[in-house]
């Protein structure tokens, strides 16, 4: 059974993009309308699929669409929409001042992350009738976890802001009780409206991400020490935020026919595979062998799709 929102994550360089792309391909070949999205600022989806992909959805083949979210572009769009909006509200004298502040914020840390997150939620919400499944190829672990846990953290913060604004407005209304004009002005508070719209959005994002029937997070790792440790930490965090963990995909397993040169590595790998089985066995471990060459293009992705299909097992 496939889920509506499937995430592939894990340490950098373990083959997340390849797994995500080949999984998306295998779904598409079965007639499921699939969109594969890369949220990694350093995109490699286009390389894996072997055709150019941009910040707009492109059709790769029948039932398969692809998209690379461009953080810089998203942030720019957001700033422009604010500037547009502002022209109707404030006088020209202040516009310059605001533009200065927009530029500062544009460069501030977290802006790109937030921009990606925005697009990401848009996609999840809009996708309904266009696509059956969205496969997310996420950025290396730390980045992604911050992205997924963003709504939970920000909701608390924004709740506090809303409470504060409500109190201020109540006081203001109380003070304006005998002034009709001011009262009219206070009736519709844009700041309160914007804040609550944000909060609702975060709430919806959280609902989508923690919906175990619809969202699932698969980990991709190699049979090595560091990826195992990182995956373990990441799984713990996802559990804390109540996001469903799907399978653990072990990529690039050296096959026995690799020859004498790899003998030592294979022995070490067997040990790690045992550890992986012990620690992540409950989620279901999917094994993918190391291939002779790098995977590139649709035909080569297809060769993986049989084994990657197992991630739906649970």
């Amino acid at each position: 059974m496939y889920r509506r929102y499937t995430f592939f994550g894990g340490k950098g360089g373990t083959g997340k993009t390849t797994c995500a792309a080949s999984y998306a391909l295998s779904l598409a070949r079965r007639g499921v309308r699939t969109l594969v999205v890369s949220t990694d600022p350093a995109h490699s989806l286009a390389d894996a699929i072997g055709s150019p992909i941009g910040s707009e959805v492109v059709e790769v083949e029948k039932n398969l669409w692809a998209l690379e979210i461009d953080a810089e572009l998203e942030a720019k769009k957001y700033m422009e929409s604010i500037q547009q909006q502002m022209l109707h509200i404030v006088s020209a004298a202040i516009v310059e001042e605001i533009k200065r502040q927009l530029r500062i914020a544009y460069l501030s840390p977290g802006a790109e992350e937030a921009a990606i997150f925005d697009r990401f939620i848009d996609l999840m919400e809009e996708a309904g009738d266009k696509y059956d499944v969205i496969v997310f190829d996420t950025a290396p672990t730390g980045h992604t976890l911050r992205l997924l846990t963003l709504p939970e953290v920000l909701e608390v913060w924004i709740d506090h802001l809303i409470k504060k604004r409500t109190k201020a407005m109540d006081l203001m209304r109380l003070a304006a009780r005998y002034e009709k004009e001011l009262q009219e002005k206070l009736k519709d508070d844009p700041i309160f409206n914007i804040l609550s719209r944000r909060r609702d959005r975060f709430q919806r994002a959280k609902d989508l991400l923690t919906d175990h029937g619809n969202s699932v997070f698969h980990f991709v790792l190699n049979a090595e020490k560091m990826p195992i440790l990182e995956t373990e930490r990441a799984i713990k965090l996802l559990k804390e935020f109540d996001i469903k963990v799907g399978s653990v995909v072990v990529n690039r397993i050296i096959p026995p026919e690799a020859g004498a040169f790899f003998e030592k590595r294979r022995e070490a790998q067997d040990g790690y595979l045992k550890t992986i089985e012990e620690r992540f066995g409950v989620y279901g471990v999917v094994r993918i062998p190391m291939l002779e060459s790098d995977i590139q293009g649709v035909t080569q992705l297809e060769s993986l799709s049989e084994s990657i299909k197992e991630v739906e097992g649970l």
Partner: protein
């Protein structure tokens, strides 16, 4: 006749408002402004060097508060006489 009564009533109302209500509502209004200043600090503290986790999302509020921004920055940076300010608020004369 009716016009005169209306006029008298109107002035009476203004008198009452000025004597009893206006002062009180001024206190409340001051409190409201203070509360709003605090909120602004939470929203745009990063302009004063206080990190803000969601400054990016607060940008869309900017057009609505921009006209007050300058005055607010001045008020916040010049909060040396908080006690005097508070005392004035309660109007002990």
């Amino acid at each position: 006749m009716v016009g005169r009564i209306k006029k008298i009533l109107y002035y009476a109302k203004l008198f009452m408002f000025g004597t009893f209500l206006d002062k009180r509502s001024a206190v409340v209004r001051k409190e409201a402004f203070d509360e709003n200043d605090d909120l602004m600090l939470l929203l745009f503290g990063d302009y004063l060097g206080i990190p803000n986790p969601i400054s990016y999302y607060m940008l869309e509020l900017l057009p609505y508060v921009a006209s007050d921004m300058d005055a607010w920055e001045r008020r916040i940076q010049n909060r040396k006489m908080i006690l005097a300010e508070k005392a004035a608020q309660f109007d002990f004369d």
